[in-house]
């Protein structure tokens, strides 16, 4: 399997099972977001990609729709082992977290009416929403000092959160409008 000789320096040639196992560990570890864990496994531990290669792949995956790390599993898996590799990475990442989250759901369903559990979930929900707010804050920070970009972000907020327009219609218009507007004014 590792007989392929070429002029590039020896690189790891993970099997379908290696790909599954690597992402399985990422799925188990990734509390509060899997990106840092995925980078650590891919670049530092298993050295499947160099840091610049990883950054480039992540850039592509953020540009495309879908979960960022979910897209990384597809791009990385298919690069090494085609469709089977992509499926192995994806299943490796998702299997354990899906099982765990449904287990939590069962526990929540059974004990939701027990007052301390109910109160814990009210507070946990509030904190989880605040975590998303903090994430939004960090993602919006490159917009500071760019009134036009802030305007686009504010308009998006109003269209989606206040007017509650369907995203399927609103999103292409916002994306295209924003691209043309920002290019026109170089903001």
């Amino acid at each position: 399997m590792s007989e392929t000789s070429s002029d590039v320096p020896a690189r790891p040639n993970p099997t379908v099972f290696d790909l599954f196992a690597g992402f399985f560990m990422v799925g188990i570890c990734g509390f509060g977001g899997v990106l840092p864990w995925a980078r650590r496994m891919i670049v530092e531990q298993r050295k499947w990609l160099t840091q610049p290669e990883f950054t480039d792949m992540l850039g592509l995956c953020q540009f495309l729709p879908g979960g960022n790390i979910m897209n990384v599993t597809i791009a990385l898996g298919s690069r090494f082992r085609g469709v089977a590799g992509a499926a192995a990475c994806f299943l490796g990442l998702m299997t354990a977290p899906v099982a765990i989250v449904i287990g939590l759901g069962v526990v929540y369903d059974r004990y939701a009416d027990f007052p301390p559990v109910h109160r814990a979930f009210v507070a946990l929900s509030a904190a989880a929403a605040a975590y998303l707010l903090a994430t939004a804050w960090k993602i919006a920070s490159p917009l500071r000092g760019r009134p036009l970009a802030i305007g686009v972000a504010a308009l998006t907020f109003v269209v989606i959160a206040v007017l509650r327009l369907p995203m399927l219609a609103a999103m292409p218009l916002l994306a295209i409008g924003s691209t043309l507007l920002l290019r026109r004014f170089r903001a």
């Binding site: 301390p116 929900s125 919006a140 691209t179």
Partner: protein, 174 residues
């Protein structure tokens, strides 16, 4: 249309709309699940989102949880695969030809244009969630205090979430 087919239709659509990841489609997910299909209340949706945050794994986990709540194990499989397959197929195709367009001006222009839209979408997600989680003034206080901790301290996010849950359980909040 059966519920499973409806779940597949909703999440298949969300898959191709998730520019900037799962968090960007929380408002549309909430709109579809709560307002359009009446599968659960806004408060229940927020609770599932919180559960998903407390679990390991990618932040797509709320998708599986909603599927499970609406249609059992089969529902979870349907939503998880529906949200994954369309965007993954696109990624499979595009990642092969990506390097050819690395420095294309249209790609850079689109990336710049998408940035504020993504930021606005995630702000909208946060705003709508906070609207449904703020059931009383103690919940509002938890949101404000933890938001400050998430933004201004380097504490591990799981630590802050756990502290909020404990504070709620012992009656300090919630």
């Amino acid at each position: 249309m059966s519920t499973l087919a409806q779940l597949a239709a909703v999440y298949g659509q969300l898959s191709l709309l998730a520019f900037g990841g799962a968090n960007a489609v929380i408002p549309e997910m909430q709109r579809q699940v709560v307002d359009v299909h009446h599968w659960m209340t806004g408060h229940e949706f927020a609770a599932l989102y919180a559960l998903a945050q407390a679990a390991p794994g990618p932040n797509m986990m709320v998708v599986s949880l909603v599927g499970w709540q609406v249609g059992g194990i089969l529902g979870a499989l349907v939503t998880t695969l529906s949200v994954a397959v369309p965007s993954s197929t696109l990624t499979l195709v595009v990642s092969g030809v990506w390097f050819r367009f690395k420095d294309a001006p249209w790609r850079k222009a689109m990336q710049a244009g998408l940035q504020p839209v993504t930021a606005g979408l995630i702000m909208a997600s946060a705003g709508l969630l906070i609207e449904s989680t703020t059931v009383d003034w103690t919940a509002a206080a938890v949101t404000v205090v933890t938001a400050c901790l998430f933004i201004f301290t380097k504490l591990h996010p799981m630590l802050i979430l756990a502290a909020a849950a404990v504070a709620g359980a012992i009656g300090l909040a919630g």
